[in-house]
């Protein structure tokens, strides 16, 4: 929010002035109203802990984060470029595998990854658009450059918080919002629906789109229901689906109805017990065969996980150059692959400054933050690294940028990241907004909601609004 000299950056000036004009009591009052709003709407996520599950509201911060138009243009261009390249990569990996033959990405790295789906070979994917919804995690480094930290191409969540935060922010700072010139995010649900419909074959003129959820006990259930409601689509569970003659139907009060496009919020492993995990009750038996036969579309396509594998991530700049003949607009974070002996040695020697992540894990689990870990923790982790180097990557510890947050009545800086959402069907659309996740614990760098993270609204300004 502030320049190095301590003055508010130009696009924050209006908000800064407003913040100073409010007393601590007024701030607390607004915070309470905000929380009440979330609680009443049932905007909660489920935390599974010792034995029982509790519903909690995701901690939401009062102050929006603001991104000027010039920075946004770069982000938008960078994300579009990245997704085009990654879709091309997936299309290649699941057909001719030219990129592997040309030695740009190591063959064993791709074919040996658990997220690689042999079953997807030769499957027709509409518009060769494998990743229909993605939500990359970006971070802003010390010099103001945005880096891509993770691509999140499987089933990214959080978009409902982006929309709900916006709803709330309009109530909290109506005046500042109006005068700032903020780009709207409210069109996300209809853009999503249009994207999903664009995947249906032409001979199904009025495609039936459904959202597939694991059910009410899933921690992101609120979001599944929210999107289904705003799209006017049915929210189905695996038990509502029946596959007959390679065609997917849902059980309605009037009998079986054909389903054309499934926006699934269930992981690859669980969508079809006949093709993937046999113990899964979340999907529908025969779904994948119907998909292969071209009778139904699954979005995102199964097998996209290979392109957001943490080790493949290191090659994304090369992937962009290979398919698009362009340099990456948004840089990667420097990544050491522990599978390379030289890089492993470097990682082991510098454990106290690096962040080490397990390739297969997500959600902030299975990682070591070197500077914050004890010597003993580092030693245990080093042993794990030596035992199974293929499973780990390491990155320098990046000081995430901070944004002002209201914590216990005080305005304090907290680390934040940025998750914009990108839709890709017939064309690629970047929604002008994002979920800003906040590490609410002082000094913490972990923003995941399961580990004490919160969120705040993100205002992307129009060109007019960005002018000083």
């Amino acid at each position: 929010m502030f320049t190095a000299q301590g003055a508010p950056r130009a696009h924050y000036a209006a908000l800064h002035a407003r913040m100073l004009s409010l007393s601590p009591a007024e701030l607390a009052d607004r915070q309470r109203t905000l929380e009440q709003f979330f609680l009443l709407q049932g905007i909660t996520f489920t935390v599974y802990g010792a034995g029982d599950a509790t519903e909690q509201i995701i901690p939401t911060d009062l102050f929006p984060r603001i991104i000027p138009a010039s920075e946004w243009t770069r982000i938008e261009g960078g994300l579009t470029q990245r997704l085009r390249a990654l879709n091309a990569f997936l299309a290649d990996i699941y057909s001719d595998q030219k990129i592997l033959s040309d030695g740009v990405v190591p063959r064993d790295l791709v074919l040996g990854a658990p997220s690689y789906r042999r079953e997807m070979h030769g499957v027709f994917v509409p518009h060769a658009s494998y990743v229909n919804v993605s939500g990359a995690d970006l971070i802003r480094g010390e010099d103001g450059t945005f880096f891509v930290l993770e691509d999140n191409l499987r089933v990214p969540s959080g978009v409902s918080y982006m929309l709900a935060n916006r709803d709330a922010a309009k109530r909290t700072f109506p005046g500042t919002f109006r005068s700032s010139g903020v780009q709207p995010v409210e069109r996300y649900p209809d853009l999503l629906l249009a994207t999903l419909k664009s995947l249906a074959p032409e001979w199904r003129p009025d495609p039936q789109v459904v959202v597939l959820t694991p059910g009410v006990y899933n921690s992101a259930y609120y979001e599944h229901a929210y999107l289904a409601r705003l799209m006017g689509a049915h929210l189905v569970e695996g038990r509502d689906l029946v596959v007959h003659d390679n065609i997917v139907h849902m059980r309605t009060t009037e009998g079986l109805q054909r389903v054309d496009v499934i926006y699934r919020r269930v992981d690859d492993d669980f969508i079809d017990p006949l093709s993937f995990r046999r113990d899964s009750g979340l999907g529908a038996a025969g779904l994948f065969n119907s998909y292969r036969a071209g009778n139904v579309v699954i979005a995102n396509a199964p097998g996209t996980g290979i392109a957001d594998d943490k080790a493949v991530y290191a090659y994304v700049p090369d992937i962009i150059r290979y398919y698009l003949d362009e340099d990456a607009i948004l840089p990667n974070v420097k990544t050491y692959l522990c599978r390379e002996p030289a890089q492993l040695d470097y990682v082991l020697a510098n454990l106290d400054t690096l962040v080490v992540k397990a390739v297969g894990a997500s959600g902030g689990y299975g990682m070591l933050i070197g500077p914050h870990a004890s010597v003993a923790e580092r030693e245990t982790f080093a042993a794990q690294l030596r035992a199974d180097p293929n499973n780990y990557i390491a990155q320098p510890t990046i000081q995430l940028s901070t944004a002002p947050c209201l914590v216990d009545g005080q305005i304090e800086p907290r680390h934040v990241d940025l998750r914009p959402f990108v839709l890709s069907g017939q064309k690629i659309t970047v929604v002008p907004g994002a979920l800003t996740r906040v590490a609410l614990r002082r000094g913490s760098l972990v923003v995941n909601s399961s580990q004490g993270g919160g969120s705040k609204d993100t205002w992307v300004l129009t060109k007019r609004g960005s002018a000083p």
Binding site: L39, L40, Q41, G42, V211, G215, V216, Y221, Y222, A225, Y226, A228, R229, A233, H234, L235, V236, E237, R239, D240, V242, H244, H249, M250, R251, T252, T253, E254, G255, L256, Q257, R258
Partner: protein, 314 residues
């Protein structure tokens, strides 16, 4: 067209909501009757509480306050207001995309109110206002259902649940009063008659029809057969019939579906019944309960858990 699972959830929201409301009213009347030191009315309330929940003790050993507590806040109990509202909300959460935000907010607010840590205190300190508040919120919920949801299938399933539950509850209440000698003896007292009418939220509408001259026979007639009173058994079955007729059957098959036929039959029976011919209301009341159970089963067979092989596309 809607998902079978969704229809099921909406139907149960309706049932749980009605159940919660009835229990609130029962507790309220029971507690007021203790204040009035009207033992006969308290006894009827105890019997009514026992009738909807076997575990409730009908003897005098348990105080009215304890019974009310069980009816309202007991969370182990299968049928307390708290469990009914929690389940209604759980069902609503499962069909969150199918109900309007206004409806959801009302129900969620109710749920937060009865599950809040202060609910216990509120009930023991000021039962009347606490219960009255819940009932008023339930009315707001039903109002939101009517005013904001499309009057299509989902709405019909929800109201089907409300009216089916209501018909059963009123029939059960009447059975407590008219089913045996003990019940009829209790009902001879004027204040008890008033209490029973209040349990059915029927006092004022009754007075308009029969004036303050309360007779057990009129009371029975009103709660069973009145055409206009929304809580009479006849009115409820009539609405069930309307909603079932409005629901398209499997594959848009012509003619009435089985549940619609059953509801129409019950409703005709109540419509053409003659008060003078009813020598034993107990038998009629029992058959109302049985018919409601068959309608419930038929709804499931027709709309929710139908066998797949009959519905596969040709």
């Amino acid at each position: 067209m809607m998902l079978a699972r969704v229809a099921d959830s909406l139907y149960w929201i309706g049932r749980y909501i009605e159940r919660a409301e009835h229990r609130c009213r029962l507790s309220d009347v029971m507690l007021t009757s203790t204040l009035d030191q009207n033992d006969a009315a308290v006894a009827v309330a105890r019997r009514a509480a026992h009738a909807i929940d076997e575990a409730q003790v009908a003897t005098d050993q348990v105080s009215a306050q304890d019974i009310a507590h069980r009816l309202v806040l007991d969370d182990d109990d299968r049928g307390s207001v708290v469990t009914a509202l929690s389940r209604a909300r759980e069902n609503a959460r499962q069909v969150r995309d199918q109900i309007t935000s206004e409806t959801w907010e009302r129900l969620n607010m109710l749920y937060l109110r009865v599950t809040s840590p202060s609910a216990e205190r509120a009930l023991s300190r000021g039962a009347a206002s606490f219960l009255h508040g819940i009932i008023a919120d339930l009315h707001l919920f039903k109002g939101a259902v009517d005013a904001t949801m499309s009057h299509g299938q989902g709405w019909r399933f929800l109201l089907l649940g409300v009216y089916l539950e209501r018909a059963q509850l009123i029939a059960r209440l009447l059975k407590v009063c008219f089913g045996d000698v003990a019940g009829r003896a209790l009902l001879e007292d004027h204040a008890t008659q008033i209490a029973v009418l209040r349990m059915a939220c029927a006092l004022e509408p009754y007075l308009r029809v029969y004036t303050a001259e309360v007779r057990p026979r009129y009371l029975l007639e009103f709660l069973l057969f009145d055409e206009e009173f929304p809580r009479s058994v006849r009115f409820s079955t009539q609405r069930m019939e309307d909603h079932l007729t409005g629901l398209a059957g499997p594959g848009g098959a012509p003619g009435r579906s089985r549940p619609a036929r059953l509801a129409a039959r019950l409703s005709a029976r109540l419509e053409f019944a003659d008060m003078d011919e009813i020598f034993a209301p107990s038998a009629l009341l029992s058959s109302v309960a049985e018919e409601c159970a068959s309608i419930h089963d038929a709804i499931y067979e027709t709309f929710v858990s139908y066998p797949l092989e009959q519905r596969l596309p040709a």
